[in-house]
Amino acid sequence: MKQVNIIVKRTPKIFSNNIMLKINFQKIALILLPILILTGNSVKAQKAPEFSNKILPDNKTYFYFVADRFEYYSKEGTNPLVWDVQGYYGKDYNKFWFKAEGEALTSEKEGEMEFQGLYSRPVTSYFDVQAGLRYDVAYNSITSNSRAFAVLGLQGLAPYLFEVDGSIAVSEDGDLSGSFEGELDLLMTQRLIIQPRLATSVAVQKVEDFGVGSGLNNIQLGLRLRYEIKREFAPYLGISWNRKLSETADLAKLEGADVSVFGVVAGVRLWY
């Protein structure tokens, strides 16, 4: 029977001397080694590469695309297709950011949409400042209008985990406007997620061609329940309420359009 208790033998005192000897040996070996290598056939192993900070993929360029909303909007009257997509191409500190949002009817010629191309740069741990151009188009079977903007915005993750995107824009005619969007993911389960969403816009000047009045334009409230089959692919169902406000509401009334629209949405959230 072996002694069970003593697993480790005490190191004899001489051992520490051995360590000293070992180190000396190591030093000698180190001196000898380059000589060995030089005389051997692997001479090239001797010189190491110059210092470089470009040896890792830590400054890689990524492409990201997300269709946050891509849905069919079922409401009273016509039922448009609605989209809200964005993405980027770039590195940690410099990105080209693109956004497209709009709605259009599939049955007849009517729709409105906007496109943005922005330079995006992180300014805090959670926020990017974005600057660039926006192009709006509104059309129906009779007319078509478009206008361009210069945009400055802030997008990121706010305290309490709200995904927010706010921007101010100056049109080619000098009209000043602003918009804000915020959404929050609430986990029912690991894959079933409720997403409340709020969007609003405000304008300083009235721009009748686009049905924009001065002051607060509208408020959009949505609630979507999605199921992440994969992280990248999540079908959803939800409700969406869009209320035009103040002068914008008046303009809508004049055109005979609805001021308040409520409907059901069905769509898919996907990203790449």
């Binding site: 051992f15 590469p49 940690d92 805090t124």
Partner: protein
């Protein structure tokens, strides 16, 4: 008679395994596992240097792999994952020839081995890497002993199986007595491309986290802790934009956890005879997983950490960070099976094997414990004035502090002659490390007596860093002449990882050490996740108040909001890698080069 029968059976089974393995190699299919993964290792399973020049040949190539019945392609060494067990002897000069049969560059880094820096195997730092079709000759004197490992330092090859165990026999008598030994190499495997894994994490925070807090858990917490307390906890994390379930970036959602290359279903077997003393040499060769290891029914005695003998510590469980090694002795007194259970830190899965008197046996496999959640202490909050934390949060919005270089703003911290542990917590300096750091640890804790998140509360004795005491004294008894402080920083939302908020591509040059100087390396974890920090080419003598018996480590697992210090004497000149051993963190920029020069600035 009975005994003899058993032996024949064992041999024939071994022969059978060898047979199947060679068939597999010929047909190019099925499981290619190193022999020791089947049945422990005898002489034939071990690769030892041969001939007068102590030559050992390794070939890196793509191989088919079978993990619990599912097939894929891996990068193997001499045709297996993990690679062969390399067995060297202290005191010999070895020539390790590594042939690259891949279509891309490769490399082998000998983890924890003290050697000339050109032999360290880090492409772009110590050498140019090994081109396809080329053979690189690693020559070095073996000056140490213990349990180590080796792995690729190129791209994400390590995640694809490019790693193996390495044992160096001591020149003198081994102070550890044992009858039998096994390497237990823990690792993680994904059937996804690791490059996709990296992209997924870059594009979505918490991509692999399927253990986030939900409504259901909220209601459960309300019923347990009351509404006010639960609501406060949930909202304070949300306000800070932090997830209390950030435990691991890559999880069991994509990982299969392996023990010596085998998945939990395939049950790696290690044999013993009753009364034997078995030495299990645990190595964590994962790309992204920290493990909590226990063997229900057996006490473990830790005798070695990172290849260095320590005073034996009797424990029931230990946490092993990526790249760390722990040797434990177990002495089963009964002829029965014991499960070697290695739970991933986030409890999303486990690796498992069986220690048994006969092959093919299995013991009960424990259920995974519930995943823990991060605390305010992990976020660097001061536990004594928790109620005021609302005010501190606002600081997070402060604009970037453009302070250059090292963080030396800690006025609490006395430069000379103290262990760096006297004040706890230590306050963070004014540098908030820029956008690459989601947060900082306002209060930095010692934590050397804490086993880590999710451990120590179920009655088991768990190893802590304070338990580690070197068996042999460190030779350099000098006090440190200077301090180098580095902060571990990251931004989970942007998936940026760095030291002092600077990704490697943002730093201008190496961190300068002078040969044979004595310095104190202070590491502060400003993130809320564990990081295993590895310094190549020299030992870190962890300052855990054991004086000249401070344990020597090549990798330090640093807890959230922990402030840890180690004494270093850089003996070997050259350029050495210094990085987080979570593969994806390293690739994202949590990497630096330490340059050790002589007084004249030379590194050769």
């Amino acid at each position: 008679m009975k005994k003899e029968e058993k032996n024949t059976k064992k041999i024939s089974r071994r022969a059978f395994f060898r047979y199947t393995a060679s068939i597999g190699a010929v047909v190019g299919m099925s499981t290619i596992l190193p022999a020791y993964a089947f049945a422990g290792f005898g002489e034939r399973d071990v690769l030892e240097p041969k001939g007068a020049d102590n030559i050992l040949d390794l070939t890196i190539s793509e191989i088919p792999i079978n993990i619990d019945g599912k097939t894929s392609t891996a990068i193997g060494i001499n045709g297996s994952v993990p690679g062969p067990l390399i067995r060297l002897k202290e005191g010999e000069d070895v020539l390790l020839r590594v042939k690259n049969e891949l279509k891309e560059d490769t490399s082998i880094h000998w983890h924890g081995i003290i050697l000339p820096f050109q032999m360290d195997g880090v492409p772009g730092v110590s050498f140019d890497g090994i081109k396809p079709g080329e053979t690189f000759e690693y020559r070095f004197p073996v000056t140490q002993n213990g349990t180590y490992w080796y792995h690729s330092h190129s791209k994400l090859q390590e995640q694809l199986g490019h790693y193996g165990p390495m044992i160096i026999e001591p020149k003198d008598n081994d102070p550890v007595e044992y009858d039998r030994e096994y390497p237990v190499l823990l690792s993680d495997w994904t059937f996804e491309s690791p490059y996709d894994v990296m992209n997924n994490m870059k594009k979505m925070d918490g991509y692999y986290n399927y253990q986030k807090r939900t409504f259901g858990e909220f209601f459960k917490d309300v019923s347990e802790d009351g509404f006010v307390s639960a609501f406060k906890n949930y909202t304070s994390f949300a306000r800070m934009r932090m997830s209390p379930t950030d435990l691991a970036d890559v999880t069991g959602a994509t990982y299969t956890y392996l023990m010596n290359g085998r998945g939990p279903e395939s049950n790696w077997n290690a044999l013993f005879k009753k009364g034997e003393r078995i030495r299990l040499r645990f190595i964590n060769g994962s790309a992204g997983s920290t493990f909590d290891v226990r063997i229900p029914g057996l006490k473990m005695t830790v005798v070695q950490a990172d290849g260095q003998n320590i005073e034996p510590v009797s424990i029931e469980e230990f946490r092993i960070g990526i790249a760390e090694t722990y040797d434990v002795i177990v002495e089963p007194k009964e002829e029965k099976a014991f499960t070697i259970f290695a739970e991933s830190l986030d409890r999303s899965g486990f690796a498992r094997g069986t220690l048994a008197p006969n092959e093919g046996m299995a013991a009960a496999v424990p259920v995974l414990r519930p995943r823990p959640t991060r605390t305010m202490k992990d976020m660097g909050m001061n536990m004594s004035d928790m109620k005021m934390d609302g005010m501190k949060m606002d600081n997070m919005e402060k604009k970037d502090n453009a302070m250059e270089g090292m963080d030396n703003g800690n006025t609490d911290h006395n430069m000379m002659g103290m262990s760096g542990m006297n004040s706890d917590p230590v306050k963070h300096g004014p540098d908030r490390h820029g956008v690459g750091a989601a947060a900082i640890a306002d209060n930095q804790y010692n934590r050397l007596n804490e086993p880590g998140i999710g451990l120590g509360k179920d009655g088991r004795k768990v190893l802590v860093y304070n338990d580690l005491k070197s068996l042999e004294p460190n030779i350099d008894e000098r006090k440190p002449e200077r301090e180098v402080e580095l902060h571990l920083t990251g931004n989970m939302e942007r998936y940026m990882w760095s030291f002092d908020g600077k990704e490697f591509n943002e730093v201008k040059g190496p961190i300068e050490f002078t040969q044979d100087e004595r310095l104190r390396l202070i590491l502060v974890n400003d993130t809320m996740m564990e990081h295993p920090i590895h310094l190549h080419g020299m030992w870190m003598e962890l300052e855990n108040e054991n004086g000249i018996y401070n344990p020597r480590k090549h990798t330090l697992l640093i807890q959230p909001a922990q402030r840890i210090s180690a004494l270093v004497t850089p003996r070997d000149k050259g350029r050495w890698a210094f990085h987080c051993h979570i593969l994806y963190h390293m690739e994202m920029g949590m990497f630096r080069v330490v340059q050790v020069s002589d007084k004249n600035g030379g590194i050769y």
